[in-house]
Symmetry: C2
Subunit: 206 residues, 2 copies
């Protein structure tokens, strides 16, 4: 198949793009041909941006979110509620929650979830540092906002057991029927849970 | 929206990916987070591959295909039929035709098609060099293999007019019903052309 590409440089570039998740060889070739049409300076900027990112990236030493500074702009913001920590899997979840503008507390980014199949154990994640935060700082509530997969549930339970001795309030985000969704199409587990965890009608407007 | 990203480095990297065709900001972020999980060496290789490609890329001085050498491996292959030139828009078309293993002649890569809307005129393409090749070398046939869009037809016609004075044989690839397709679903232009340009039954096995 190497004969397919008329140049080794071209083939290498296609290979690099094709290593990215969700990018096949056809798309990779399209991207490479696009780059070839850009100016040398633009392509240099393109390549160096990622090299610089990987080299200079800082993770907030408090919450482990990606940051430009030692302590991220959320952790260092005095306007945030520093007594509440929301535990998430990765920075995409932080961005999703920030987007809602409904949460004013801090975060703790685990960097993944416990997944023995992928060789990820509790020690590969920022769980110890979470326990330490809860012990050392004046935290009142920890919100678990991991995905409802088997791995997410395992991680939730592991963290719950680790934090239980501190007597802190541990909550999890509400699962239920999405706003706008019709009941008849909802899966039964979600629908069941949304009935069990029903809320006071006056609360539903908040 | 800049607040959305917790780091400028991160935002820059997302922006760079999002400049690529077909890659939105969500996909871009996913790709950036993937790169962050790779080793520093791997990301350096990733970035430098494109920088090197753009800097060191060579276009074959005969057919203008991407190449590692001054003359590409197709043009320099003595086993190819040097009297036939297939004119294509870009190197993806060369790869598609090479993949069929049905063509043994040479190529001529235009680098695009005439498209006034995009500001691409005949002088932006490798048309003059094609005329020169036909005049200087012993070419017997030029096959036009451009797309059947308005731009493709315009380009075909422009090249046809430029080459007509040389008296060379000018052909175009056959358009018709794709093998395996059913007649009832074919568009009428294609079906009409496939009837007008019908081939001898014995030829259809070749």
């Amino acid at each position: 198949m190497s004969q397919l590409y008329s140049s080794t440089l071209l083939e290498n570039a296609v290979n690099e793009f094709a290593k990215l998740p969700g990018i096949g060889r056809k798309t990779a070739l399209r991207l490479v041909l696009h780059l070839l049409k850009q100016s040398e300076e633009d392509v240099e900027l393109f390549g160096n941006t990622f090299i610089r990112l990987r080299k200079e990236i800082i993770y907030c030493k408090v919450c482990h979110n990606i940051s430009d500074t030692e302590v991220c702009h959320i952790c260092s913001n005095p306007g945030r509620d520093a007594q509440t920590i929301c535990v998430v899997e990765n920075i995409k979840d932080v961005m999703a929650i920030e987007n809602t503008q409904q949460y004013k507390g801090l975060y703790h980014v685990l960097g993944g979830i416990i997944s023995p199949m992928d060789g990820v154990g509790p020690n590969d994640l920022e769980i110890e540092s979470l326990v330490k935060r809860v012990q050392d700082e004046e935290i009142k509530e920890v919100i678990l906002a991991l995905s409802t997969t088997m791995e997410g549930d395992t991680t939730n339970f592991y963290i719950f057991r680790k934090l239980s001795p501190t007597g802190i309030k541990i909550t999890t985000i509400a699962r239920g029927i999405a706003i706008g969704d019709e009941l008849e199409y909802a899966d039964e587990v979600t629908l069941g849970r949304s009935i069990v965890n029903r809320v006071d009608f006056t609360n539903s407007f908040k």
